[in-house]
Amino acid sequence: MTVKVITVGEDILGANEEKAKANKSRLDKHEVLTVNMMSSPGAGKTSLIMSTIHRMKEKVRIAVIEGDVASSVDADKVSEQGIPVVQINTAGGCHLDANMVESALNSLPLEDTDLLLIENVGNLICPNAFVLGEDRRVMISSLPEGDDKPLKYPAMFADTDVVLLNKIDLQPHLDFNTDAFKKMVTGLNSDVIIFPVSCKTGEGLEAWFSWLESAVKGKKDR
């Protein structure tokens, strides 16, 4: 038998990217601004989603997809606010993929939604490689994690549109160097917008809300 070499040259995650494109055009059709929120466990994804719901739900119709390894605690919090939410349990999996999001979209009222917030699984490596069909990528990095995170997870910081630097209320207790952090992040990503915030005190959140509001508006005005 002769051995034959077949050149492939294709991205292993190409199928996910195709599916993400389909999700994107579906969300575009309904003019839903979709935000993929990524962070390490406990950085404050759910807290930010809750603050955003409280502040914006009178003006903007919000829906949420909660990715979680096993529990539904985060989804329950959102649901209590009367917000449509779909829980995706990844059964130990470390990221959401476009396929999971596609089925979640089937259970959401897309025609009555302006903003879809997707809480990805808490992990700083692989959610970055799996696009979901989002318009914007938002990373949450929090002070207790330390200011060297951009050097440890450079690809994630390089690809995000926004970095929410959360838990700034804890600054007096930590030796987090915000200037060094910002310098590293902008070094990796010249277009990034950084919002220092605290979900606990509310500091800095108004800037995030107005950014989000104009992004929602931008999607309608396309």
């Binding site: 034959k4 050149t7 492939v8 040259g9 292993i12 692989c126 490689a129 050097l151 590293m184 902008t186």
Partner: protein
């Protein structure tokens, strides 16, 4: 981190390409993975042996070419390997860089009979 799903996608891609070429067996799969992709080759190998068992890729050798992280200075365009603590340009000390390699995760080729 997500080697199982990577392995599944990789196997189905290889089977599809082999099928298009009317091959009866896949003997080798050549993969390229970057340092930043987080893909652990040992894990892929482990899952592959398991899920390829009843396919024409069973027993195929997996080859991994590991691409190190390389970045380009946005000011002087020098390309360099960043060190752990410092990603600024060794030539002009500019902090702004872009990642040029290290994120790869693709199938270069397959060898079939």
């Amino acid at each position: 981190m997500h080697e199982y799903s990577i392995t599944e996608s990789m196997l189905s891609m290889a089977l599809e390409k082999a099928n298009e070429a009317n091959a009866s067996r896949i003997t080798r799969i050549n993969l390229v993975t970057g340092e930043l992709s987080g893909v652990v080759s040992e894990c892929v190998q482990f899952y592959f042996e398991h899920i390829s068992k009843d396919t024409i890729a069973s027993g195929a050798e997996l080859s991994f070419e590991m691409k190190p992280t390389r970045v380009r200075c946005r000011r002087c365009e020098a390309v360099f390997s960043p060190n752990n603590h410092d990603w600024s340009c060794p030539d002009c000390h500019e902090a702004g860089i872009e990642i040029v390699s290290g994120r790869e995760c693709y199938m270069e080729s397959i060898e079939v009979e």
